[in-house]
Structures are given as C-alpha cells and as structure tokens.
C-alpha cells in the first residue's frame, strides 16, 4: 500500500490538525511540501487533489481527501488503533466539533495569522484586527471556561476528536502575545496543559519547524 501523504506546509495549523490525528492513531505518513509562497497550491498538480487550492490534502491509498476536519473524521473512523476519537453516543461530541469550527476557529485563525505567520513572511501584525479577534476569542473562551469546569474534556470524561481539533491552533496561540487568553482561564489552561502533554502531540509539535525566535 502506498504510504500516507499529507500535502501542505509543515507549519500550517490546518495541516498540523491532521498530523495530530495521524499521530494519535500511530499512523505513518510523510508531509509532501506544497509551498504557498510559490503558489504551488494553485498549480494543476495540487488542484487535482483539492480543486479549491487549499492545504491540507491527504492521500491514503487511493483515497484523496481535503478539508482538515473531514480528513480527521475519516482517520478517526477508519483506524481503530489508538484512542477512540469518535465514540458514541456522539451528540455532545458533535456540538463541540462544531463549536471549534464556528466559534473558536474564526477568531484564533486570524490571530495566529497576524501574530505568527505574517511576521514570518516579513509583514507586521495589524493591531485593529488583533484586538477585534482577541476580544471575540476571549468571549468564546469564557464559554469554554464554564464548560470545562463541568467537563474534563469537551465531550465529557474522555479525550476525543473535539479536543484534538483545537490543538494545532492552541499550540500556535501559545507562541503569541495572546497566549494569556488561555493561561488566564484556569479550566481552559488545565485542559490545554493536559491535552498538550499527550505523547502523540509532543511528537506532532517536535516536527513543526518553528524558527528559533518563536
């Protein structure tokens, strides 16, 4: 069987979202570089994998998928080794998968872009954009704080895909001056300390080529 190929930039949090899932399941894979800076994602070769021209894409045997959250559902469903990332009953788990996608991600993503990625590309963070999204993310994390005071993990007692889908962006956020958004909320902090200590995640972050100054 052909090895698993994860297409994208090893620094991209959406790519790392998938790498984290592959590592939790103990699966071998290689990252195939698709350098956004050279426009590789808009070339016909890559568009054949993801017609929307975005990273990541995953090739698993003859299956080609894109959209990191869809890829992660596929990994969680197909591979039974390792932790059960999509246990049933699933109602609460599905809610928090959507909360990541529609409440957490829309604010953490622009923050990480402004504070981490833009400077790496030689640009400067836009303070207006940073303040707006930091303010909104704070309100979102207040909801998480209340929820995590009653629940060890987002879906209840066990680590699931709902927690995992947050990790790549939480990690990037922790490298920015807005890390205090998590650090100042005791239950959110405790949850992050717990999940980021998972061996599979330690392996995932060790592979992220952060420049020495970050």
């Amino acid at each position: 069987m052909a090895p698993r190929k994860l297409y994208g930039m090893p620094l991209s949090p959406n790519v790392v979202r998938v790498a984290a899932a592959l590592n939790e399941k103990g699966l071998d894979f290689e990252i195939v570089p698709v350098d956004l800076r050279t426009g590789a994602h808009k070339q016909p070769e890559f568009l054949a994998l993801n017609p929307f021209g975005q990273i990541p894409a995953l090739q698993d045997g003859d299956e080609v998928l894109y959209e990191s959250r869809a890829i992660n559902r596929y990994i969680a469903t197909k591979y039974t080794e390792g932790p059960e990332l999509l246990p049933t009953p699933s109602a609460k788990l599905e809610v928090w998968l959507e909360v990541e996608s529609h409440h957490f991600y829309p604010h953490v993503s622009p923050l990480v872009f402004q504070l981490l990625i833009k400077p790496m590309l030689g640009g400067a963070a836009d303070p207006v954009v940073v303040d707006k999204h930091a303010h909104e993310l704070a309100r979102v994390l207040d909801v998480y704080e209340t929820h995590l005071a009653q629940n060890k993990y987002l879906a209840g007692d066990a680590f699931t895909l709902a927690d995992l889908n947050h990790m790549s962006y939480l990690f990037c956020l922790s490298k920015t001056p807005k890390a205090d958004l998590v650090a100042s909320r005791p239950h959110v902090k405790a949850w992050w300390d717990d999940i980021s200590a998972r061996p599979a995640f330690q392996k995932t972050v060790a592979a992220i080529p952060f420049p020495p100054s970050a």
Binding site: Y74, V99, H103
Partner: protein
C-alpha cells in the same frame, strides 16, 4: 414519544437547516420561536440551551443541543433507519468521507462567499435599516464565481455533491441559497448550468418546499 423541539424563528437559515432534516426523516417536531427583538436569545433560559446565545437550540427529552449541523446530524442518526433514509452514508467509509468533505466545503468555502450577499441585500436592509454595501457584495460575488467554477466541474460528473446520491452535504446548502435566490444576483447561477440544475432538484424536494414556505424572500 414527545415531539422534539427546535428553538428559533422558522425563517432563520440555521433553524431551517435542522428543520429540512427533520422533514426528510419524517420526525415529529415543534418549532418554539425565540424573540430576537425582545433579546430572548440572551435570556438565562435560552443561554442554558445555547451558551453562545444563538439559534437554533434543540431538545429531545433530556438531551439539549446547539450548533445546527450537530443537531441535524443527531436527528439524522436517530431517525434515518426507521425512515429508510441514508443522508450521512455512515455504512460506507468512502461515501461518508465525501459527505464530510462537501459539508465542510459548504461551511468554510461556499457559505463565506455567498452569505454576505444575502446579508447585504436582504437581511441588513430589512432588519437594521442599513443600505447594501455594494463593495462587500461585489467582492463576495467574485469569490462565489470561483467557488461555483469548482461546483460546476463537480456537478458535471455527479448528480449531487458527495456522489450520485443526495446527502446531508447537499441539504446544508439549501437555507442560504434559498435566500440568495431572493437577491438581485440570483441570475449568477444561470452561468453554471449543472449547479443551477442541482439547485432546482433540491428546491423541488417536498421537504425543501415545505420549509421554504416559512422563509419569505421579502421581509
């Protein structure tokens, strides 16, 4: 068995997302309005259902849920077998993966391009009395054209997005597209014949017709 409850106005896009799935599986349900003018969505009672103070929320006995796509999945998983419906295709890994891919595409690519046109042309003028921001509309339409190029190619190969079967992925497109067809830019779809045909197939479904009846295009 008590009917399940969906909290929020029936004309709301994300409420409709849930309702169309309830119709597809023939489940009994009750819509409980939430009065936005009266700030009911921020009342302690509603925040207990949805801590983000949004609609829809959902109740089935002891189970209280929020996030329309999570609610819709719960409904489909609960009722599909007895209804003889298979919109998630969870028995087939490849098919389920395609449903998931196109559900994510709707959420993160299609909707962000299309919904600003709906907000600027219909919702903001009607509900906030603000004029349409043409710049936002034009930028969104440019993005939407690029998205529809990909949809056209896909729907030239398959009748529906996840394959040659209707799925949750297609139904997720209904509510906002319904309102888009009430904007001055509806004719954009004429340039994409397979997309237009796909939309017309969706719009003709009894479930979609029934829920659309509570979603007036002039409000």
């Amino acid at each position: 068995m008590a009917p399940v409850k969906v909290f929020g106005p029936a004309m709301s896009t994300n409420v409709a997302r849930v309702l169309v799935c309830l119709e597809e599986v023939g489940a009994e349900y009750e819509v409980v309005n939430i009065d936005f003018q009266a700030m009911e969505h921020k009342s302690p009672e509603h925040l207990a259902r949805n801590p983000f103070g949004q609609i829809p929320a959902f109740q089935d006995g002891d189970i209280v849920l929020f996030e329309s796509r999570a609610i819709a999945k719960y409904v489909l998983r609960k009722y599909s077998k007895s209804a003889g419906v298979d919109l998630l295709r969870e028995g087939d890994l490849k098919e389920a993966a395609m449903v998931d891919v196109w559900t994510e595409v709707e959420a993160h690519t299609y909707n962000p391009a299309l919904s600003p046109v709906v907000y600027e042309c219909l919702i903001y003028p009607a509900m906030r009395g603000v004029p349409t921001n043409q710049k936002v509309v034009e930028e969104s339409l440019e993005k939407l054209k690029k998205v529809l190029d990909v949809y056209e190619a896909r729907l030239s190969k398959h009748d529906y997005l996840a394959g040659d079967f209707l799925s949750f992925a297609d139904l997720n497109h209904f509510p906002y597209t319904h309102y888009f067809m009430g904007t001055p830019h509806a004719s954009l779809f004429d340039a994409y014949p397979h997309v237009k045909a796909w939309w017309e197939r969706l719009a003709a479904r009894p479930s979609v017709k029934k829920i659309s009846a509570n979603m007036p295009l002039k409000f």
